[in-house]
Symmetry: C2
């Protein structure tokens, strides 16, 4: 494996989404898909996941064309994980209408042999036991990050704690920070998360930006102010993909490179929300990404 290759394990989904700007039935989604789309902008990505025969072949082809290795994405007879959600007029809030696990219920991730030497590992939001299983199959990863959600914080707490003891970085949103630590306060919450293991912690706050924390140091990136957020689904996973992809290509992992990575995360989060599903990520090019990066630097510059 090349030294900047990224492995991601996560959900592969078909989503039915309604937002104030429209409705999409059967749209491609899932944390592993959004992450791969963003991350592959920077580097090669190996995906581990499961989907049914109902998952669009076009998306697999689009991923392959973008330097995403899908050997670890198992396609089986049956239904892909399906999620239905509806966003409020204030698009920062949503209701989950249903989740149908389908094949995802018996997901038992196995790594293709050549994936075992991958240096960068991102464990997207799935059961902590599965995140641990994948992590155990990688020989000696250089940098491991994970996401999680309220469900696992509540129902798989012990396994989540085991996982947090083994990752270099945790990415969660501010609601999950509260669920995990019982703290509404950012500073106190961060201290408690670091005590659980991760040297680096990223707190995603959607349109309110993101914090990066490590050893008492703190960095903040505002969100790119999107004029028309159409569908926030996958924004957090796209954020993680942009962040992790940039990090993998830098060759150096420290607070300074992670700051830049955080800004690239914000860029990809903003690109994701401007259309349904992965549509806008498919269109993102170098110019757009660099223009938004510069905008975000300018947004906080005194010059």
């Amino acid at each position: 494996m090349k030294k900047d290759t990224v492995l991601v394990v996560g959900s592969v989904a078909i989503d039915d989404v309604e937002t104030p700007f429209g409705k999409r039935v059967g749209a491609v989604g899932g944390s592993a898909i959004y992450f791969s789309m963003a991350c592959s902008f920077f580097t090669k990505v190996c995906v581990v996941g499961i989907a049914g025969t109902d998952f669009p072949r076009d998306t697999i082809h689009a991923l392959n064309e973008r330097n995403v290795d899908t050997k670890g994405l198992v396609i089986q007879e049956g239904k892909t994980f399906r999620w239905g959600g509806k966003y409020h007029d204030n698009i920062n809030f949503r209701d989950t209408l249903y989740t149908e696990l389908g094949l995802f219920e018996k997901f038992d991730p196995k790594l293709p042999e050549e994936y075992r030497t991958v240096p960068f590992v991102f464990l997207a939001n799935i059961q902590p036991s599965l995140q641990l299983k994948v992590l155990n199959e990688v020989a000696s990863p250089r940098f491991v990050a994970c996401d999680t959600m309220n469900l696992w914080i509540d129902t798989a707490h012990d396994e989540l704690l085991k996982l947090l003891g083994r990752v270099n970085m945790l990415l969660i949103n501010d609601f999950e920070l509260y669920d995990l630590t019982g703290e509404y306060n950012l500073i106190k919450g961060l201290e408690k998360v670091h005590d659980l293991g991760p040297e680096y912690v990223v707190i995603k706050k959607g349109e309110n930006g993101a914090y990066l924390s490590s050893k008492g140091r703190l960095f903040f990136s505002p969100a790119y102010p999107v004029r028309k957020p159409v569908d926030p689904t996958g924004a957090g996973d796209s954020f993680a993909g942009g962040l992790f992809g940039f990090l993998a290509t830098t060759g150096r992992i420290n607070f300074r490179t992670l700051k830049k990575a955080l800004i690239y995360g914000s860029v990809f989060g903003s690109i994701c929300v401007e259309d349904f599903s992965i549509n806008n990520l498919l269109k993102a090019d170098h110019n757009l990404v660099e223009k938004r990066y510069r905008f975000l630097r300018n947004l906080v510059s005194l010059l």
Copy 2:
């Protein structure tokens, strides 16, 4: 009047406040008081307001000692405006328990003769008709800013619009932006506010920082991450006071000086919330203010 003197008109209050960190009955408050405390850190402030004989003399003395001219603060027989509020465990949310207008009900602001030549005018959150009346009494102000609230947006809309056509800057929070424009989206909301008149608009988002907007240019300052916010009452007014005080002393009003002013606003907002009432503002010194300013610059620096 010296060329960096600031006039503020606003409420002078006695507050009964309960937060997760304690309770204070009969604490000094009001927008004009918080504003003056912060603003006087930088420059001379003239206060226009009304209070009853129950308002603590100590506070008047403390203000006078800090370069605040209280000739325009009328003390009459009767009760000071009283506000009771209770904050939730998530201290970003609160319920107003009661408001007793007292003397504030018949508040008819009149400017002492020497106030009429003041160059900087801040119209804190009171009825737009009173804000207009005060503005009309100032001969030729150099820079005028105002705050407002949902109540006036709903009940005094026409007068508020008249006012907005005459101010250089509007400072509101993100909820008020929605009430004023019907837009949850920041960019679209800002466009609509600029169309109402103000060249500069500041959107205060509490712990999520603040935006400064002018002619398509945008600047953002994160909030100072307070470890223990004890009482958020007055944070927005302290923010405005710090911002306006710094601006008045610069001598130059442009987007660049306003950026720095926005950061000083964030500094004073954070100082305010670390204790009940004006207690922590009373303690703030040059070292603390500059330390927090540097922290906020560092928080977004790639170096």
